[in-house]
Amino acid sequence: MALKESEAIVLRTYPLREADLLVTLFTRLEGKVRGVARSAKKSRRRFGGALEPLTYVKASYEDRERQELTRLDSCEVLESPLATQVSYPRAVALAHVAELLDELLPDREANDAVFRLALSVLAGLRGTEVWMPVTYFELWITRLMGYLPDLSECITCGRVLNGNRAFFHALADGLMCLDDKRLASSEISAESRTLAAQMFRAPVESFAGAPWPKALGADLRKFLIQTLQRHIEKKLVTAGMLEKISS
């Protein structure tokens, strides 16, 4: 079979046999692809630091007949997260992006919009700021996957929520008004809904530079994570770790 070449983002690696690595790549050409990088653990010469999670690479791989796993031939680093300092909050944020992409994307289905989103958010995560890129990524990935409900009306009565209080619940499919909110619902502020509307209209770079404390958009992130977890039917490991970061 012919060697394929594509831009890709490394999502995860797992040890396989004595010296190989099983690599999950998000390729621009074919979406999520799993492959084997032979001797990647033993010899660093062929792959070097290219298989670190969230490294943007140019990958060459070859599909094998009647085999699900592709053979990873080489990876050339285009952008590495190791190029700038990896603080603990940044490491958790990068892992969060990797986990969301790995859990949400189907195998072998190209999605250029998500690929572009991932690249722009990774660029945003080069600095010390994590909460803005994380919020932007969670919001857009929820929308691009088709899981984001209308944030402007109550899912129960259809009332317009703009200018009114809005609530969400882990088991509800959207926002609710004050009259229809369920027991143990959480409130999502009007500021956070405005923020979401702004994020839908502007690229991630336009939010860079301004201070973004953890509290800003925290209710929006909680709502998005609940929505995503309900759809994938599992808890996201990195969501809990993000929550524990103090600032």
């Binding site: 660093r44 010469r45 070097g48 630091g49 190791l82 603990y88 490491a91 892992a95 990195t238």
Partner: protein
């Protein structure tokens, strides 16, 4: 019905639990043990028993040891005020092979790995903090792996152990000795340039 006698099946099943050992290898090892002398088989069984019974973690550095404190922490000839922090006990052997490091160690037993749910609280950092806070250390060398996880661990540690009078350093990264610059990947080359030193 099992292919082998019950004790043989049991041994194969136990050997299969070891990393990198599949059914065929487990069978081969089990038959090798069966064919070996009674003394050899007994020595193997005793070695397995002893490793579980006598080994523990050093109360100072978390290295795996049969005596507490371990040989590195109790040695009067080693510089106890110089501490090298590593991820795993096996990393100590790599540093010892240089024959140039005469300090002591601290083993974290892992690195920060958010994708696996491992945060700083899962690492063995507490006794390092006690050593640093007690003023027993002049320099901490952070020798975690040059990966995203190792870097995150190094940055986290450096932020948390920093004290006036304490030097915190990170091992250098770059081109391996004997290799060719032409074949170095971009990130390794970048780290090598960043870590350059004056001659």
């Amino acid at each position: 019905m099992s292919k082998f006698a019950e004790p043989m099946t049991r041994l194969i099943d136990e050997l299969k639990k070891l990393p990198g050992i599949g059914s065929k290898t487990a069978q081969r090892l089990a038959f090798h043990i069966l064919r070996s002398t009674d003394d050899d088989a007994e020595a193997l069984a005793a070695a397995v028993r002893d490793v579980k019974a006598s080994l523990r973690l050093c109360s100072i550095c978390n290295n795996i040891t049969d005596v507490d404190p371990c040989v590195y922490c109790s040695s009067p000839t080693r510089n106890q005020r110089l501490v090298c922090v590593v991820e795993e006990p096996t990393n100590i052997a790599a540093i010892e092979r240089t024959k140039h490091f005469n300090g002591s160690y601290h083993v974290l037993h892992g690195s920060i790995s958010p994708l696996h749910g491992v945060g700083p609280e899962q690492l063995r950092i507490a006794n390092l903090m006690r050593r640093v806070e007690g003023g027993e250390v002049d320099e901490v060398i952070i020798a975690t792996n040059p990966t995203v996880e190792g870097e995150a661990t190094a940055v986290y540690l450096s932020e948390h152990i920093r004290r006036p009078g304490l030097k915190v350093t990170r091992i250098a990264m770059g081109i391996p000795v004997g290799s060719d610059i032409e074949y170095a990947d971009e990130i390794t080359m970048l780290k090598a340039m960043e870590g350059r030193r004056e001659l």
